[in-house]
Amino acid sequence: MNQLLKNIYLATFRINTTQNLHTTIPVTAWSKSDVPKSFLKFNKKIYPPQDPSEEPRPAYVCHQKTNFKYSPDKLWYIASFVRGMTVDEAIKQLSFVNKKGAGLVKEAILEAQELAVTKHNVEFRSNLWIAESFSGKGVVIKGIRRHARGRLGEVRYQYSHYFVRLEEGKPPVDYYKRNPLTPQEQLDKWLEQMRKRKITNSF
């Protein structure tokens, strides 16, 4: 019942925003939703059984938050910020980020964590890390603003999506490859390069 109300409610809203020629409702009550679906399909993927000798495949869960009023560009910074962190670390960090998007991302991660434990056979809720995290562009409602000399300007009211994939296990040590080599390794690499040199046309 409530779902139906929701559909109708959303449908009529769509009419109000996009100035349609027709103003009838009944058909649009069953209109398609414009929420992205493909990311959540990964939650339904079934992997082939493993041998007992194999290392158990880490569980993962995909989750999304859709169409909230925030700029996808601003959201991107927060999304990339938490990538490669453990869930606990990400939540701790996000609670100190003074941005609207940080709260939304935090909420999404917490929801995903809950899903992982209840639906996707994850035993410990802290044993998860953020394997994927990115923003997407949602509905854009175009508004109008006045300019001088009777001209018009377009205003974009942007909505955005947030996608997150949590994976079971420990995060990689250096997700962003910020410091891939230790000084010793750098030296070794340099030595190796030097020794590999070859004088052309020689033995």
Binding site: I46, Q50, R145
Partner: protein
């Protein structure tokens, strides 16, 4: 050194004292007089932005009503229909009670003694029921039926393993379908029927009429003693239950049902009888953290759901 902060602060002493107290603006593209703020605001056409994530399910009734009124919507017709299916009964009527220890328990035990008395009573009823089945289906033969029953049993399980919903529907009644499919979503099942240890035999038969006198359903309970292999894997291919190399002896009492009055009726798996003396189930291989105990809320006594077709 010229950019040092001390040098900058040091120059402040040249400024008049009032200048420090006054707020100063960094924005230069706006007029300094706030009376134009309203006019600037009016340059933008005001539109109502929708909150897509509004939790409509938890909105108070009045708020929903208000929102629908704003948009000129009528409330939808409440969905009061209760669908029910007439080609299968909603349960097992006069269910078979397997004798203690599968009829091999000591004769001295009290339950066993009671059961033997009841058995005689029930046997005659079963005979009557089989006679009734024969009146609809002349070729019915209990021996032949046992063979067919085993075939149906195997096919039903195989279609479940292959995730073939349409085939499953032909081998399983509408009542048993959800019981078959329960908890199987997203899992990989590997099941093998190895052999039949004892030939299956009919242990119980009942007929009943539903709604009208002519509308008759037949239910036959068949005892299977078989050897099977089962392993269940979760979505990620990790073993949840059973084993790939372990075969188990299975003793089952399976109820088959047929809509006798229907010319096109078929014998289908309808349910399973689990005796009280059955050994406890294996614990799940999946380990979980114990959920934190919630504060107990006194539950309301819900009226129990009545089955769609009353059991007889």
């Amino acid at each position: 050194m010229a950019n040092c902060i001390l040098a900058k602060i040091g120059q402040l002493r040249f400024l008049p004292a009032t200048n420090l107290l006054q707020p100063y603006r960094t924005t230069t593209s706006k007029h300094y007089n706030p009376k134009f703020k309203k006019l600037r605001k009016e340059k933008f056409l005001k539109i109502n932005l929708h909150d897509y994530n509004e939790d409509i399910d938890n909105l108070p009734e009045e708020k929903v009503r208000q929102k629908m009124k704003e948009r000129g919507l009528l409330p939808t017709r409440p969905w009061n229909d209760r669908p029910f299916y007439v080609s299968a009964t909603g349960g097992v009527f006069e269910a078979y009670i397997p004798p203690e220890g599968d009829g091999k328990a000591s004769i001295v035990s009290t339950t066993r003694a009671k059961q033997t008395v009841e058995l005689l009573e029930k046997k005659s009823k079963s005979m009557m029921a089989i006679r009734k089945v024969k009146s609809f289906d002349e070729d019915f033969d209990t021996k032949e039926f046992c063979r067919i029953a085993q075939d149906i049993y195997v096919k039903a399980h195989e279609s479940l393993v292959n995730n073939d919903r349409h085939a499953l529907r032909t081998h399983v009644t509408e009542k048993a379908y959800p019981e078959f499919r329960h908890n199987s979503f997203g899992k990989t099942i590997r099941w093998k029927f190895l052999e039949s240890l004892e030939p299956p035999r009919v242990v119980h038969a009942r007929c009943t009429d539903v709604i009208s006198k002519e509308n008759i359903f037949g239910q036959i309970t068949v005892r299977f003693h078989t050897r099977q292999q089962l392993s269940v894997y979760d979505r990620f291919g990790r073993l949840l239950h059973g084993s790939e190399i372990l075969a188990k002896d299975v003793l089952e009492y399976v109820v088959f049902e047929k809509h006798l009055s229907n010319v096109y009726g078929n014998w289908r798996v309808h349910g399973k009888i689990i005796p009280d003396w059955a050994p406890p189930k294996d614990p799940s291989k999946l380990t979980r953290l114990m959920p934190e105990e919630k504060t107990v809320v006194p539950e309301k006594t819900d009226s129990e759901e009545t089955p769609v077709v009353p059991d007889k």
